[in-house]
């Protein structure tokens, strides 16, 4: 769901249009401007999401204090879960880069580079939000030749560089092709501004998985910290005297010895 704020300027509108082009046919771009402030009042956003049945949204606006503002967020049960405000520093649109684009509806590949994405909670939520936003529908099979484009996010010096490249598969000697990239789509330089993250318990509630989807635990298999897998086998009680061990021919009892042993045993029995 892509919404324009009351004072959206050309840059922000163009960004929304480009993201809509990337996310067709799963997005809805609202043409009219809506005078709302997401960080103050979330009711109108929730109303829109309920009407259009969309849980991910992007809101663009522009004012003197926050130029070229983009709020990206998601909902749980039609209530706002996470909202992150990003400022657009540099923007190159789809139209400005003149080469062929990939067909709409393809599932993109996502790559996050930079250790910043794991350091702070804000960045981690931003990563999860971006994955949620830009991944396509979940599929079980994918045509290898149809992997068309890749979205690359780099976190560096407090900025996030968003680039999209078209994939060219070149021949290499072996089965796996060599990759060459061609810049295709919108490229944005983003700066993290405000965030409105969900409280821990709401987030936990939203992550709850129904019992059917939980991965089934296999019995009698355990893993230790070094990566070794241990298995347990349950056996019945064994009679160790009848155990089949290696036959040492030298230790075999000779017939004479066996007779003397029997005599000794019978003597002992008689005594007792």
């Amino acid at each position: 769901m892509l919404i324009k704020g009351g004072n959206a300027n050309l840059t922000v509108t163009q960004v929304l249009r480009d993201v809509y082009a990337l996310k067709k046919p799963y997005g809805v771009l609202y043409k009219k401007k809506n005078i709302t402030r997401p960080f103050e009042d979330q009711t109108s956003l929730e109303f829109f999401s309920k009407k259009s049945d969309c849980s991910l949204f992007m809101f663009g606006s522009h004012n003197k204090k926050r130029p070229n503002n983009l709020v990206i967020g998601r909902m749980y049960d039609f209530h706002v879960l996470d909202m992150i405000e990003l400022g657009i520093e540099k923007f190159v649109s789809l139209k400005d880069i003149k080469n062929s684009k990939c067909p709409e509806g393809t599932k993109p590949m996502l790559i996050f580079a930079g250790d910043d994405f794991d350091v702070t909670e804000d960045y981690r939520r931003l990563k999860s939000l971006l994955i949620d936003f830009f991944r396509g529908p979940t599929v079980s099979n994918i045509r290898l030749a149809g992997l068309d484009y890749v979205l690359h996010f780099t976190a560096l010096n407090g900025k996030i560089y968003f680039r999209s490249y078209k994939l060219l598969l070149k021949k290499s000697g072996c089965r796996t092709p060599r990759i060459e990239l061609e810049e295709m789509g919108p490229s944005l330089d983003l700066v993290l501004r405000r965030t409105h993250l969900a409280s821990d318990d709401l987030y936990k509630l939203s992550m709850k998985m129904p019992k059917a989807l939980k991965p089934k635990k296999k019995k009698n298999i355990s893993h230790d910290t070094f990566g070794t897998t241990y298995g347990r086998i349950h056996m019945q009680k064994q009679d160790l005297s009848k155990l089949q061990t290696r036959k040492m021919k030298g230790l075999k009892k000779r017939p004479a010895e066996r007779i003397t042993e029997d005599q000794e045993k019978s003597k002992r029995v008689k005594k007792n």
Partner: protein, 365 residues
Amino acid sequence: MEGQNVEELLAKAERDEAEKLQRITVHKELELEFDLGNLLALDRNPPTGLRHAGPTQEAELRALARDNTQLLINQLWQLPTERVEEALVARLPEPTTRLPREKPVPRPRPLTRWQQFARLKGIRPKKKTNLVWDEVSGQWRRRWGYQRARDDTKEWLIEVPGSADPMEDQFAKRIQAKKERVAKNELNRLRNLARAHKIQLPSATGMHPTGHQSKEELGRAMQVARVSTASVGRFQERLPKEKAPRGSGKKRKFQPLFGDFAAEKKSQLEMLRVMNSKKPQMDVTRATNKQMREEDQEEAAKRRKMSQKGKRKGGRQGPGGKRKGGPPSQGGKRKGGLGGKMNSAPPGLGGRRKGGQHHGGKRRK
């Protein structure tokens, strides 16, 4: 000499292999983490090459992207593949990144009537064999479905039982019985569904026409029939002398005489506060709705008078001309305003929006 040649050949082959692999291998300090179900790769290496922001940044970003994509593609090409309609398709594993759900987990459904009964009595499902021996055809056939073992419908001979009418069609009787069983099953399934979703099914007690039904039952049946149109009875005309049914609106709910003391106290205090406040507590939605409804009624009455007068006196142009300009625009506006607001939007929001546009009741610009 030959030994040297063989050695040289081997060395050359090795070098070629290394070269080929070099084209697709990428050296990274920390391994990337992959989530192939989402076509996702996470690179934890700090991007040191890009520290100096300069004109070469784009090219460096691109090089980094190329390396990461190469690694991801290498991983993807390792997946098991199959050929589907002359295209090479890889089977993706399940996505491992845990992302929050969009909608809450569905509630467990209430048990159906049979399940409740079985639970009460301790009945467990009997394990049945898949195939049953069929005498007629002399082979093992399935228990139900296509070419089943004992198929009632395929019998070409049915004996007339002693107690039955000799002129009756036994085949038709069987087909009818089956239809009735299917209908009963469907009804029970729908009832279970309604119970699960907590929908009240309209009771159909008086709706089957028998010869002798009371006046109330007939009235109720008529009312239900009137409301069962696509517009929920809004445009159904009444017969000339038919009276509007009374008591068909919503039943008023009264609070119990004593019970929740806290709630009663709260409502009484609220009432006192409203009475004591200097400013009038006006609900903008209700006020505008009321105003609009009154205006509409006035106009409808006026129009009816006009049309009657016009018909009687043979169409006067004065009021007619004015009439043309007025209603269409109002009608259009009304549809946009009322229809959109009354049925779909929640009352609070609708009220706010209306308040903004109409400034408390004034509609005409």
